[in-house]
Symmetry: C2
Subunit: 504 residues, 2 copies
Amino acid sequence: MTERLAIIDLGSNSARLIVMHIYHNDAYNLVYHQKEIVRLSEGAGESRVLSKEAMWRAINSLKVFAHMCELVQADKILAVATAAVRNAHNGQEFLQLVYQHTGIPLQAISEETEALLGYIGVINTIDVKDALLFDLGGGSTEVTLIRDRQPLEMLSIPYGSLNLTEMFGTSDKITEEKLNEMRNFVMGYLHRHTWLKNLSLPVVGIGGTARNIAKMDQKRKNYPFPKVHNYRLGPMAFEELWYALIKTNLTQRRKFPGLSNERADIIIAGTTIAKSLLDVSRGTSLAISGCGVREGMFLKYYLERKGQKEIIPDILAHSTHNMLLFYKGNESHHYHIAGLAASMFDGWQPVHKLGSREKSLLNVAALLHDIGIAINYYDHARHSAYLVENARLFGLTHREQMLAAVVAGWHSGYSAKYVRHKLYSEFLDQADWQVARRLALILALAESLETTQMGLVRKVEATIAADQAHLKLITDDPVVIERQAVVQHKKWFKKELGVDLVVV
Amino acid sequence: MTERLAIIDLGSNSARLIVMHIYHNDAYNLVYHQKEIVRLSEGAGESRVLSKEAMWRAINSLKVFAHMCELVQADKILAVATAAVRNAHNGQEFLQLVYQHTGIPLQAISEETEALLGYIGVINTIDVKDALLFDLGGGSTEVTLIRDRQPLEMLSIPYGSLNLTEMFGTSDKITEEKLNEMRNFVMGYLHRHTWLKNLSLPVVGIGGTARNIAKMDQKRKNYPFPKVHNYRLGPMAFEELWYALIKTNLTQRRKFPGLSNERADIIIAGTTIAKSLLDVSRGTSLAISGCGVREGMFLKYYLERKGQKEIIPDILAHSTHNMLLFYKGNESHHYHIAGLAASMFDGWQPVHKLGSREKSLLNVAALLHDIGIAINYYDHARHSAYLVENARLFGLTHREQMLAAVVAGWHSGYSAKYVRHKLYSEFLDQADWQVARRLALILALAESLETTQMGLVRKVEATIAADQAHLKLITDDPVVIERQAVVQHKKWFKKELGVDLVVV
């Protein structure tokens, strides 16, 4: 059943609305996103009372969201408030005001729930087994230790980019003394939690500060792809960025490449928390997640609806399947092709010498190589490449996603012209291009075996014998057309893999 | 009501199937295309009897099509046969065989119907007022004189690329004598129709030969965009191509860049007919149409279904609207933005100095600037640009479509980085980039006025006074948010148009 879900997340700094659409076939997609800066905790200070001005800023923003929910015909609204409301003495009063004026059933969630939702958002969209996760908001930072994809420890730090800025007055130019004071305060807090120390794990960051770290680093490196989710920096690169930031005053930060204007005052405090987490835990890298609490809320809802557990076993397979459904691909046909491709990949491994990561890229490309038809049937291979490149696929690095895109684009023969454009070349080197050609060759053979889309070639047996690659077609029919189609790729096969292809 | 239409067209040389999908909201799209070479008229010769072999080749291909129609769950099959069947003594017998063995209700259509369907396919997808249209098939060539978008004269030449090749034996190397003989034969035939002579009109070509002319010319010129529909060549360029072709033998032609293998034997005869038509009529240019009889059949059906006439008054508006619906855009919101943009365009014409063509590009970009959301909400401006670039929009040149794409991509501010990639740069020069920036500026202002998507700014009055551009917002509300959003573009406005923007 089709369903539109509006998800609202009211933080200390900003309010956000996303709208997710679930289609008839269970495919889902994000169809709207809106952000309003509300600074709800501003001026709450030690007394922990939300100010009238701040409350009305938030209510006015939520009014706009409520209107938008109507406009997009949302069937359901899930709305949560985090630290600012949770910690305020007048939090309940505020929630009632919100309901009265906007009709939004906003609920304050606990630190544990917030951490858990962030964890669900990340674990289902980034391929990590063991990692330290932090969700850095305006008024608190949720930290989760992930072991074997499970949450092992959790910690809620009652400081975020906004209240830490207020505490230490770091919105403009900052003296070394001031900085050290803030730094020591945060480090001291973290050091009390011994499980955090010396973990030597990858660190994953959620939240506006984290996303902005990615954007600033991308600007510094002239990164060619405007994608934040699963963007990775080394600890040194992050340190350099942080040093560059702390030297600036507010005016300079307003022009700092990649830094959003509305975050210029609170970025010092925000990045200092992140830096301290990396330092204490000896983080080996920093990955940014574009998915957090909101996506966690959605996935929890979506997976429950399907009667599934909240942790997806194979996020790449899941998100690839979702894309195939979203673009209305012919499921049985494409899974059949993917199966044939996998058999050939396995059987001819001694010749192509590629590994399991490449095999999963082949699978993605095999399942999605026709989705470009949704854009324009003519030239659809090129459109498939574009869609794979930009699809919400999870469990791949940016480079791997580019590689899968190229393979999808070459599914009926490789051409440097339209696929090897600038963007791909920034990510892929000579060796990658060879991988892409080999995977594309296997995909082209698999597709040839399904020319009539009738599943006539039920299975294949791919073997290597006497310097020849054998392909045995298991079928009940003569499969004249399929055989012709396969044979056309013999020359390419020889050129690419150096052995003859014999179809039996 | 949603509907899937399979359209089959059995010619003398090839059989083709397209599947068109009409969605709930009346948007339509091509979802499948298949071609089989059948050479149905091969060996029919003077006796005009379809050979057994040829008939069975066609029936086997149609069987595959019938299977595909089932697979894609077509609700209806419209199937026509042209010259080969129409002219054969055993045509009726063949049609019965087809029905017996495939269930496809194939019908032979007259020359007039064929010409009319081709005309409908072209007039609704290429922006021509007066032109000479030819549909060059394997066994006949339908010629239509279009005046004021209406068919004025029609002529069916009983020769096409296949039977003319057989008549003159021009499948391989051709002597000058042979060539002259064939040329004189065709020219002689054409000269008998005096209305054809010295028309001095653009010529539009349909059919496989015509499409192949485009592809060969694109290869010669290293054309950066793989799109055939509405591709244009000058008469000189076509002449050069023809001279290059007639010098080759079959083996050489099999490697001729852009020429499809299966057409290498019949291309000399095919291009000679086209060349003769251009010569006799003194054609001023040759445009290739990727749409012909099949698209004509679809559009006739689709427009009748909607109770509309078979000639769409404004093909650009129609196809833009179709794309907006296809990508599930918010109709009222986007038409409102387009209206606001048009008012500003008109009011500030003395400053931006752009004309009516640019105004229609602005309209396209305004209506389609959000369709990229269908790919990925994040970074959707870039995706909108990609979709506009590749959309089945009709009534634009390739260059104009690129320009509209860039404007859509820049709808929230211009950035050279992701839009100014190689492909666009091949089509657009300095002046074009300026046009794009100016249109994008107006679009950005219009979008700002619709920030809350509530239509609060009902209308605008844009005027020029005392070296300032005035923008008066007609509204019943204070529109605080909209006003803020507009004001943000003041700097850009001044930079781009050299005058100050004053919002009143």
